[in-house]
Amino acid sequence: MNDEDLLEALLAGEHRALARVISKIEDRSPGYRNLVSDLYAHTGEADVVGITGSPGAGKSTLVDKLAETYRDRGETVGVIAIDPSSPFSGGAVLGDRIRMASTVGDMDVFVRSMSARGTLGGLSTATADAVKAMDAFGKDKIIIETVGAGQNEIDIVQTADTVAVLVPPGSGDEIQTLKAGILEIADVFVVNKADRPGADRTVQELREMIQLGEGAGFGGGGHHSQEVIDAHDDWDPNTDEEADAGWTTPIVETVATKADGVDDLIDAFATHREYLVDSGEHAARTRRRYAEEIRTLLREDVHALLEADLERAGGVDDLAEAVRQGETDPYSIASDLLDPLERCLEDVETDLDVDANGVTESDDR
C-alpha cells in the first residue's frame, strides 16, 4: 500500500492502517515525514491526557478503567503506552497491554505500545506523531502512559494537554515532594490505591506541597488561594471563578482496581481542559509544543548531517583515539566540524515565511 492509500485508509477508520502509520513513524521509514505532515490537517479534535508515575503506581490499571469509562460514555479511545528499552540490546518488553482487560475485544480502544528506540528526543517526537495519527483517525480521547523516571518521560508526557501524576501512598517522606522533576509537571495529582494505609498522609503531603508552591509559581499559575486548596475535598468542577487566577492542582483519590474515583478524575480532566481554553493557556501550550517539535526536528536533522560528516571524516573512533592520545580535544574537533557549516549558513537565505495569517510557506514540499 502506498502512503497516499495508507493515509486514506487511516482517515476512513481502518485499524490496520492506523497501526501501520504508527509503525512507519516509529521506524522513521522513508516518507514518514510527508505522511505525518499530511496528518496535521486532520487533527485538533482529540483530548490528550498524559498519565505518569513511578513503576507500580497503578498507571495501566487506571488507564484501563479510564478507557472503559470513556467507552461507556460513547467516546472512542487511543492509548499510547511507553516502556523503556534496554540500553544494551535495544530490546524491550512492553507489558502494559496485559492490564487492559476491561476493554478487550473492543477495537474502539486502540492500544499501542512504544519503546524508547531513538535518542535525542526521538521518542517524544514519535509519540507526538503517533498522537497525531490517532487524532486524525478520529479518536475522541488519547491517553499517553509512561513511567515517570526522568527528563525523557517529562518531554513525552508534555505532549498531552493535561498531565496526571500518580502518587502511590507511602511513596517517600516529604523531602521527595520537594525535589524537582516529575511532580512539577502535574496538572492533576492522583493518589491511587487510596484504600491503602498511608493514603491520607500522602494526600496531606501533596496538599502541603501545593500550598508551599503558592506564590512560587508551582503548579502552573502560582496564584492559588487558600480557599481553593481547602475546598479540594468537595471540589466542584463547575466553580471556575478562579479561571483567571491560575490553576490549582487538584488531588483526586482513586482505587483503580475497583474503578473508584475514576469519574472524579475524568471530571478533573474536563475542568482542566476548560481552564486551559478559558485562560488562553491552551493556545500557549499548543504553541510551546509546536515550537518544541520544530526544534526537535531541526536537532535531529542537524545531528544526522553531522553524523554523516563525521563518517566522511573517517568516523568518530579515530577522533576519540586522537583525544585519548592527547593530540587534540573534543572542543577543537567540534568547532572544526561545525565551522564550515556555520560559514555555509551565513551565505544561505532560507525562504521560510510566516505571513500575518500564520500560513507557513516553504517550497520544500
Partner: protein
Amino acid sequence: MSSEQEGESIRCLVAKVGLDGHDRGAHVIARAFRDAGFEVIYSGLHKAPEEIVQATVQEDVDVLGISILSGAHDTLVPKIMDGLEEYGAAEDTLVLVGGVIPEEDRAELEDEGVAEIFGPGTSVEETIEFVRENAPER
C-alpha cells in the same frame, strides 16, 4: 548508547491463548527475544483469540508467537488466523506456534498459515535465528 538505535526493530507478540495456565515458557521466550533486541509484547494468560487478534493488529507486530500447551491448538489457532485475515494482517505477520503439538496436527496448522512449530526442547537460539531470517520485510 549509540544513536543508531532508531529505525526498524523486530516487534513480536508472545501470546498465551485459551485455558492453559503455564507461562514459564512464554516468559523465557519473551526475555530471550528482548535480549536479542526485539520489542516484545506479552499478552498475559488466558486470552481469547479475539484479544490476540486485536493486539496483533493494533501493535502491528512482525511476529506472533502463540504458546499453547492445552491441546486446544486445533480450534484456537484457526480462530486467530481467521481474525488476522479479517483485518488484513495475516499476510505480513509471521505466525509461530510453540508448545506441545502432536505430530499429526502439524500439517493442519501449517495449512492454516503457521510458519513454524517449535516443540519441546527447541533452543531459544534456534527460535531467534528463525525470526531474524523470516520476519517479514516491510
